[in-house]
């Protein structure tokens, strides 16, 4: 599990594709905070601009075990891409610049074979039916914590337990539900290795 950058502790770049209101920006922030709490260096930021609910948005995370992160530009060549909304697969170039051997994490109900047929064997593919999990456990289609569970399962960029504190701080009385959502997604994520 995990690509080379993750194994060597080099800079890891994650690009998140969602829609305004789905929590892509929140997810990016939580993962960065978990990494920082682990003593790593990390940076999270949204695609800069006026926020509009429902419009395609991006968020970015960089994580490094070794040194402070000095690059201050949007991520054009990610190691990992996380897609919050299955319909974005066809309106945004979500795989743009995704490195060979990188990881694509998708919220979808489609079977893994379908996704593999569409995206090929260059990338490690991971799918999760995040919308169903979020609707069942949270009662809303906000898949931020679900997608974190899937990301952590497939990449191990941070430890699942490192997310507990940031989630508690962010969600207050809703934290427990979100932690359960994240854990269930972690369990249910399906992975197809590259190559």
């Amino acid at each position: 599990m995990g690509g080379t950058a993750i194994d060597t502790g080099e800079l890891i770049s994650i690009r998140w594709h969602g829609r305004g209101g789905q929590g892509a920006v929140t997810s990016a922030a939580l993962v960065a905070q978990a990494a920082i709490n682990e003593g790593k260096f990390a940076q999270a930021f949204p695609s800069f601009g006026p926020e509009r609910r429902g419009a395609p948005v991006q968020a970015f995370v960089r994580i490094s075990n070794k040194e402070p992160i000095r690059i201050r530009a949007e991520i054009t060549e990610p190691d990992i891409v996380v897609v919050f909304d299955p319909r974005l697969l066809h309106i945004a170039k979500v795989t743009s610049g995704l490195k060979e051997g990188g990881t694509l994490v998708i919220n979808t109900r489609r079977p893994l074979e379908d996704i593999e047929a569409e995206f090929g064997a260059n990338w490690q593919l991971a799918i999760i039916d995040a919308t169903t999990i979020a609707r069942e456990l949270l009662g809303v289609n906000i898949v931020n914590t679900t997608m974190i569970g899937a990301l952590v399962r497939v990449t191990g960029v941070v430890k699942l337990e490192s997310l507990l504190e940031p989630l508690k701080e962010r969600f207050g009385h809703l934290a427990e539900k979100n932690i359960n959502t994240m854990k269930r997604a972690y369990e249910e994520t399906l992975v197809k290795e590259s190559g």
Binding site: A35, F48, G49, R72, P166
Partner: protein, 391 residues
């Protein structure tokens, strides 16, 4: 011990402003400054911040309210960006010429039209001559540290000038990154209480900002100029004291791998960090290239700049603002002017780039440096080039 937290830079500013025991915050929200004032506004509303938060109807009013508060001896903070800073413009002069130690964070933003909420330095450059001390920062830690320093510098009896701390809109304001937040005891040890020498007091009335007829106006302006230049001593002393307590050191001009460099790039603000990586790559290719980062914009560090670039053959300057119909960007223009009478000086190549939030990547900086070297050899019929522009 300072606490290392993953926090949005804007929120971290609010945290540290809270620790300074600020008395008055008057602000009007504008992207990308909004989170900077949202956080203390909430703390004040929740009773967790013992400060007067004045939600004004415009930036002109925000700065006006800050003047009154500072004149009454209150520790005063505000923040703005872009058009908001421009709406404050005329009031900014009053703060500096009346020696009112207001501290302001500016989340640097491009100016309209077309409407842009994204970052560049046009807003800061437009208020260059308002008499404020102006500091530029490169990352969240530097922002937080220099907000703290700004209060100490502004309120120093030998200075009493407003201080602007510039941070790139979005590129810094909206980034979550690890920041060491100081302990309250450290802040208390570093920042003495504000002791404004002649506060407004009904019991002891004074007149402030009175008429300055021709017989005295020039002398007042000269005194203001002398005072701003002299503030350099206090700024250096403050950064030295900050280093003693917090073990992080700041200088008016900072150098990166520049000692033996034949070619230097000069930047301001957060893009400097991306540029460093470009310098590392080019050094790896055996090229003698270094970086100069201008932190203190006013008072301008003439001696430090001259000293930092004197041995280089080429100095490539990046401006993130445009002086229309003029000599290129304001930074480049000022550096040319500072070096003109020097016996030894590098050739200067000017670029304008990163306008309205456009990224300059690591390879972008490499390309800019290579192009700059080329121009230094062949010359150019243009005063400057806009990096990456589509014509």
């Amino acid at each position: 011990m300072a606490k290392r937290v993953g926090i949005e830079v804007s929120v971290a500013i609010g945290e540290v402003v809270t620790m300074t025991n600020t008395d008055v915050i008057a602000a009007y929200p504008i992207t990308p400054q909004t989170h900077i004032v949202e956080h203390p506004a909430k703390l004040a509303a929740d009773g967790e911040l013992d400060a007067e938060y004045i939600p004004v109807e415009s930036e002109h009013s925000a700065m006006s309210a800050c003047l009154g508060a500072a004149a009454a001896g209150a520790r005063t903070f505000t923040a703005t960006a872009g058009q908001g800073l421009e709406l404050m413009h005329e009031v900014l002069y009053i703060a500096s010429s009346m020696q009112l130690p207001v501290v302001m964070a500016v989340a640097n933003r491009a100016l309209s039209a077309p409407l842009s909420v994204w970052g560049d330095h046009s807003d800061a450059m437009a208020v260059r001559d308002t008499g404020w001390i102006q500091i530029f920062t490169e990352n969240g830690q530097e922002v937080v540290d220099n907000i703290l320093c700004a209060f100490r510098i502004a309120e120093d009896r030998g200075v009493l000038l407003p201080v602007m701390v510039n941070l790139d809109g979005f590129h810094l304001s909206h980034v979550i990154e690890p920041i060491l937040l100081p302990e309250q005891s450290e802040v208390d040890a570093f920042l003495p209480p504000n002791d404004y020498p002649l506060p407004l007091d009904p019991a002891k009335p004074v007149t402030m900002g009175d008429f300055g007829p021709p017989f005295i106006y020039t002398e007042v302006k000269w005194a203001q100029e002398v005072n701003l230049r002299k503030s350099m001593e206090t700024i250096l002393k403050c950064w030295g004291e900050f280093d003693r307590i917090f073990k992080r050191c700041y200088h008016p001009v900072e150098c990166y791998r520049s000692e033996d460099a034949e070619v230097l790039l000069l930047t301001m603000g957060s893009f400097s960090e991306t540029a460093m990586t470009a310098i590392d790559r080019m050094r790896g290719e055996g090229k003698n290239i270094g970086l100069i980062r201008l932190r203190l914009w006013r008072p301008f560090p003439f001696d430090e700049i001259r000293n930092a670039v004197k041995d280089a053959e080429v100095l490539i300057v990046l401006d993130r603002a445009l002086s229309f119909g003029g000599p290129g960007g304001p930074v480049s223009s000022e550096i040319r002017s500072a070096l003109y009478n020097e016996d030894r000086r590098p050739k200067i190549v000017s670029f304008v780039g990163g306008l309205g939030g456009r990224d300059i990547t690591v390879s972008g900086f490499q390309e800019m440096i290579n192009r700059g070297i080329e121009i230094s050899k062949t010359g150019s019929k243009h005063e400057f080039e806009i990096f990456g522009v589509r014509e």
